[in-house]
Amino acid sequence: MKTRPIATAMAIGAGLIVLSGYFIPALDFIRIEMIQWAVVAGGTAALVGIGNLFTVHFQKVRRREKDSFYSLTLLVSMLGTLLAGMFSLFFNRSLAWLQPAVNAIIVPVEASLMALLAVTLLYASIRLLRRRPDWMSALFLLSAVTIIGATAILPLFLRDIGDVILSWMSLLLAGGGSRGLLMGVALGALTTGLRIIFGIDRPYGGK
């Protein structure tokens, strides 16, 4: 049985209904309901994704591939967290047993990644002019230095001027540029959604 036409029809129908619900108040309840269904489906997809993650790393451990130790660590951590949460919910009716994992593992790890990001961005900024010696790179670095200076240095010595410069750069330059980018992104999202509604793009396994 070919399921592609059915999937395409469902995608188009759902998109039209949700879109019309934004403009037609009478269809609002349908829109909300369908969004709820999408949320549930998304949650289910999360479980599927976790299963896929588990499978990939399990295969990696089983084949003893390179860096399989890290995959084993991931698997152990995943299973341990799952078990801890289930037990915590079962016994404490809360997720209190997961809090140490968050406090001790998740937050520090991601914070470390954030710190690494800071060094990475610093290194990338230093290498930028060597990699792409153009006017855009020079402007980028100049703005970065200016904002940093306005944030950290000027308030120490020239508070008012620092605030003015920072506000001016933040609101006028950064804000205006960001709004322009976001408007373009919004238009792109609009046309992408239209292609999904019209069935031109079928990321769910179309042509």
Partner: protein, 246 residues
């Protein structure tokens, strides 16, 4: 008022998209050259010849969120490049920070292999969920870049500043990094970290430049037309505001 304006804009965009998709021109529309996408096309072929992988990172944006469209654009690009690279000894990889996006990436890879006539080469594990949070997703994607002999990394989707970590990992492997994000902060980060960054809505132009699909090209034209429309509208509104009419 806002809803009416949105409805009008939607109808105009829909009508333009249909007309520009169906109309047949003798000469195709001319778009400006984007060097990063041109390099991507060449690099994809070189990756196949060298026997290295192509990695497409779709970001962590949910499809139900405001940045879901960027994920769909990433899926479209994945469809095109994976069809070209399906004959490689090392098939392309797709990573995502959202479960639904990861499942769709698997489906997209499968359809690409089918289109290329190499359905037997498809592996479901080539589309992966590397993490549920942005930094965990980046943390899962970094070893992917270094361990799977990836020569081309395409970061297209909803990213945050963590995209710099993926780009840096790829840079350490001397791999090509093409970054396109919908978030301005991510764009700023990718501008410094990626070798070939894309700015603004060039993210949505990538499938049209790579795939040469008429519908994709028509959507680019619609974007250009609507952008001019918005530009003129903003200027008009600002003028009216200054005049005190609004």
């Amino acid at each position: 008022m806002t809803q009416i304006f949105g409805l009008v804009l939607f109808l105009i965009a829909a009508l333009l998209l249909i007309v520009l998709t169906l109309i047949k021109r003798k000469t195709p529309p001319a778009f400006r050259d984007i060097a990063s996408l041109t390099r991507l096309q060449k690099a994809a072929g070189m990756a196949v010849e060298e026997g290295t992988r192509l990695h497409v990172s779709l970001g962590h944006g949910s499809l139900t969120g405001p940045h879901g469209a960027s994920g769909l654009a990433g899926l479209a690009l994945l469809r095109q490049v994976s069809e070209q690279a399906s004959i490689s000894d090392r098939p392309p990889l797709a990573s995502a920070g959202d479960a639904a996006l990861a499942i769709l990436s698997q489906d997209t890879l499968e359809s690409a292999y089918k289109a290329a006539g190499a359905e037997e080469l498809y592996q479901a594990s080539n589309g992966r969920l590397t993490g549920l949070t942005p930094f965990s997703y980046a943390a899962g994607a970094m070893p992917l870049v270094s361990a799977e002999q990836i020569s081309i990394n395409v970061l297209i989707g909803d990213f945050g500043p963590e995209a710099a970590l993926i780009a840096e990992a790829a840079d350490r492997e001397n791999a090509l990094v093409i970054g396109a994000a919908s978030d301005p902060a991510a764009q700023a980060v990718l501008f410094a970290a990626a070798s070939d960054p894309l700015q603004g809505e060039e993210l949505f132009a990538a499938p049209a430049y790579v795939g040469r699909d008429p519908a994709q090209r028509a959507s680019l034209q619609v974007q250009d037309l609507l952008r001019w429309f918005l530009l003129l509208s903003v200027l008009a509104a600002a003028a009216l505001k200054l005049a005190g009419l609004l």
